[in-house]
Symmetry: C2
Subunit: 168 residues, 2 copies
DNA sequence: CCCTTTTCACCTAGGTGGTAAGAT
DNA sequence: ATCTTACCACCTAGGTGAAAAGGG
């Protein structure tokens, strides 16, 4: 996923141990289609696929560790392939999703561990909503990605880019 | 370090949490020199540098997790540079070292945590001994590395390799 | 017609020993 | 003379969108 979801975390107990997850969930109940300049709903969504949350590679870590830096989920991957490796989010193309961040405190006491809900908080960010595609539908998105992703440098400062800019 | 130190671990409590470390420590008290075909001691060692053990990236993990696979320390690095990043082993060139594996069980009970020695075991492997160098002294070592390290493929099946083989 | 898959050139990022120059 | 440093070509490994081919 690019650009990656990046969060800063505050308010943790510095010495407690936490696991941090990112989840990708349906943002609405429709299938979408890109028409001219905007996405429009074209019908009901496919049956939602259940994906386990992606655990951040730094997990588990202390509250102090999580709060010290920007937590980036750059390694999280999405796919439309049923045979994809574990750890990727299996999504429906042309469907709208958004991301959640889950922060779960690890209890050392076994009794406390049984009531897990009390120590887990979920944060949903509407601004992360996106439509999954197999090919870009909007040249402005393509340009945004090429401009900002280091791995797309080959497509910057090129004739293609100049033409796209001119066509804006 | 190549070839990497690789270990298999047995006898852990599958559900307990462990941290696994590799340490690099002096193997003797001498400075060495390569003469014709063998390393010989040439005098007393430099003052030993203290390096913290390298924690395996999978740490912490359950006993079941550690025992399921080969534990490889391929990412561990050695250096002779004082300004090197944290996490590298700072060694004296022309000195002999060997590696240790440290397995430490994490106690949830705070009282047990205070007497850490009881739950930490160290394993020293004489067969991992090596002399740190800034340039290879022995063509057989060079050949061994080129033959087995994927990143040295450029030097395989080449004129250089043929010449070295002939000179054996 | 619309969406998906495959292959590609072109990057980032970083691990090899060789080689020549530098340092003591 | 001996050891060290800096730079290099050449790899592994994998993340980009473009373009052409495939599928329903």
């Amino acid at each position: 996923m690019f650009p990656p979801v990046m969060v800063t975390i505050t308010g943790l107990d510095p010495s407690a141990i936490y696991r941090v997850y990112m989840d990708v969930v349906p943002a609405d109940g429709y299938r979408h289609k890109f028409t001219k300049t905007a996405w429009v709903a074209t019908g009901p969504a496919e049956f939602s696929i259940s994906n386990p949350p992606y655990e951040h590679p730094n997990s588990p870590a202390s509250g102090a560790g999580w709060m010290g830096t920007v937590v980036s989920f750059a390694k999280a991957k999405i796919t439309n392939n049923n045979d994809s490796v574990e750890g990727n989010f299996l999504l429906h193309s042309m469907h709208k999703y958004q991301t959640k961040i889950i922060i779960s405190r690890q209890e050392t006491d076994k009794k406390a561990r049984s009531c897990l809900g009390d120590h887990t908080h979920t944060f949903q960010f509407e601004e992360t909503a996106f439509v999954a595609v197999t090919a870009y539908q909007n040249h402005r998105v393509t340009r945004l990605k090429i401009k900002n992703n280091p791995f797309a440098k080959a497509f910057r400062d090129s004739d293609v880019m100049a033409i796209l800019e001119g066509a804006r």
